[in-house]
Symmetry: C2
Subunit: 257 residues, 2 copies
């Protein structure tokens, strides 16, 4: 199983939208995919039509209770081949609740490791924060996709995010996480700002920047209210075309590693 | 001094953009304003042209060191009447560092209280999280402005945010924080989604929703790279007009309380 986190401390740069559509895009290529929601907002659940306030158990219980496994909380989505580990507001206290647990940064990695070969890919949707939970994610992941809005604040947060990957690899033995790529999201073709930021990113980071670029599209903002990825909500929309291309590019990049 | 937090757990809904332009808008009406950056990303600093990596001391030192006061770390901005309490990445560990401190949820309120009547308004820019730091902010604030992007995920997070205000008031004696209003941000007039969400908000929350609505405007995304609020970067732009109107509406709402 290949574990890929979709992360960025910057809020609102389409982490959840990317995690859902990437997971669905890979599942639609006949792979078995597990999407793990590690944001207390529970938006990856909402985006797949699952109400985070009605789930009996969640990722919080798996992290806190040593007898609870991932398979105890799995929910099947409407997309064949795509399962979900849900989260809800309880995850908000995990940071303080886990502080006294031995090996607290390894819990997620251990629990995912027990899933064995049930899934080909595991995609993790992250909250906009650099925290103990994020450390758990970086140790549990093989790769990280960093979503970057083509704006000024996002560039600043990107430097911090790449620095965090480096520190996590150096300080924690079992952490081998790599940046699989930087994905440009919410791009508006017509603005000088977007063109300048894109150019700066490609000049500075070269092939680390995905070829696929995700443009603003209102269908992407509408699809969560229908409880489905844009890939099934509006399959001919530009957003769906771009996320299908992105899923293919991710599979190719991993094959080339 | 009136303390107003700009908050929402949802990432990317223009908290920082609103905090900077509201603080500048009020300062430009001959009031003395202090902007406090309580996000480890340090974006309120960046948006005013101050490099968070070059500040010697920050809000983190004020929270952690009982001999350090707010006035020790104040930085003057280029806008007359507007001062800033900077933050940087160190704030990211405040959650775990403060856990063993007695009265940990009252620290911010106590330190702001020592500023006395130096300022007419204090505006706080919040990180996208419901945490111990957020609890500190809610106890220290008189009012909260919740920025809401007119999208589906934002509506869900709004319910959670309003619930948190209610819990904080009930559980912590010294907390009297109220929602001053809900500010619609990043609005795109042409889409059905934005119109529907706006309509739902006004029907459900009535006059709690600000009259002023902030539309998408590329100048608002450009102004942080110039290190200044849109009010001085592009004073005739629609974004500047709307944030000036917002500052007036905030002062009026507070006067009516
Ligand atoms: N390409 C796009 N075009 C238009 N809207 C988009 C696009 N991608 C995402 N959105 C919308 O923008 C908002 C932000 O996206 P999303 O919630 O996925 O970001 P996030 O990084 O997960 O946010 P958070 O930091 O709160 O977790 C959402 O309302 C989403 O529906
Ligand atoms: N009205 C607007 N029109 C266009 N762009 C905007 C507008 N408001 C904010 N932006 C841009 O959108 C992005 C998100 O805004 P901002 O960073 O202020 O949100 P935030 O809620 O503070 O995010 P975070 O959750 O990361 O703290 C920024 O790049 C900002 O420049
Ligand atoms: Mg998200
Ligand atoms: Mg911000």
């Amino acid at each position: 199983m290949k574990t890929i986190a979709v992360a960025n401390q910057k809020g609102g740069c389409a982490k959840t939208t990317t995690a859902i559509n990437l997971a669905a895009g890979i599942a639609m290529q006949d792979k078995r995919v597990l999407l793990v929601d590690l944001d207390p907002q529970g938006h990856a659940c909402l985006g797949l039509g699952i109400d985070p306030n009605r789930i009996p158990t969640s990722i919080y219980d798996v992290l806190m209770d040593k007898d609870m496994s991932m398979s105890n909380v799995i929910v099947h989505s409407k997309i064949s081949g795509l399962d979900l580990i849900p989260s809800n507001f309880k995850l908000g206290t995990a940071e303080l609740d886990l502080r006294a647990t031995a090996g607290r940064e390894m819990i997620l990695s251990k629990k995912l490791g027990l899933l064995g070969q049930h899934y080909d890919y595991c995609i993790i949707d992250c909250a906009p924060a650099l925290s103990l939970l994020m450390l758990n994610i970086l140790i549990a992941s093989d790769e990280v996709i960093i979503t970057v809005q083509a704006h000024y604040y996002a560039l600043e947060s990107l430097k911090r995010m790449l620095g965090t990957l480096h520190v996590a690899r150096k300080q924690f033995g079992p952490c081998n996480v790599r940046a699989l790529g930087l994905l440009l999201t919410l791009v508006e073709e017509g603005t000088v700002l977007c063109r300048q930021v894109q150019q700066q990113l490609r000049e500075f980071f070269g092939s680390l920047v995905f070829e696929t670029v995700i443009h603003r599209s209102v269908r992407l903002a509408e699809s969560p209210s229908a409880g489905e990825p844009v890939l099934t909500y509006a399959p001919k929309d530009k957003g769906a075309v771009e996320y299908r291309a992105m899923a293919r590019e991710v599979i190719e990049r991993i094959a080339r590693l």
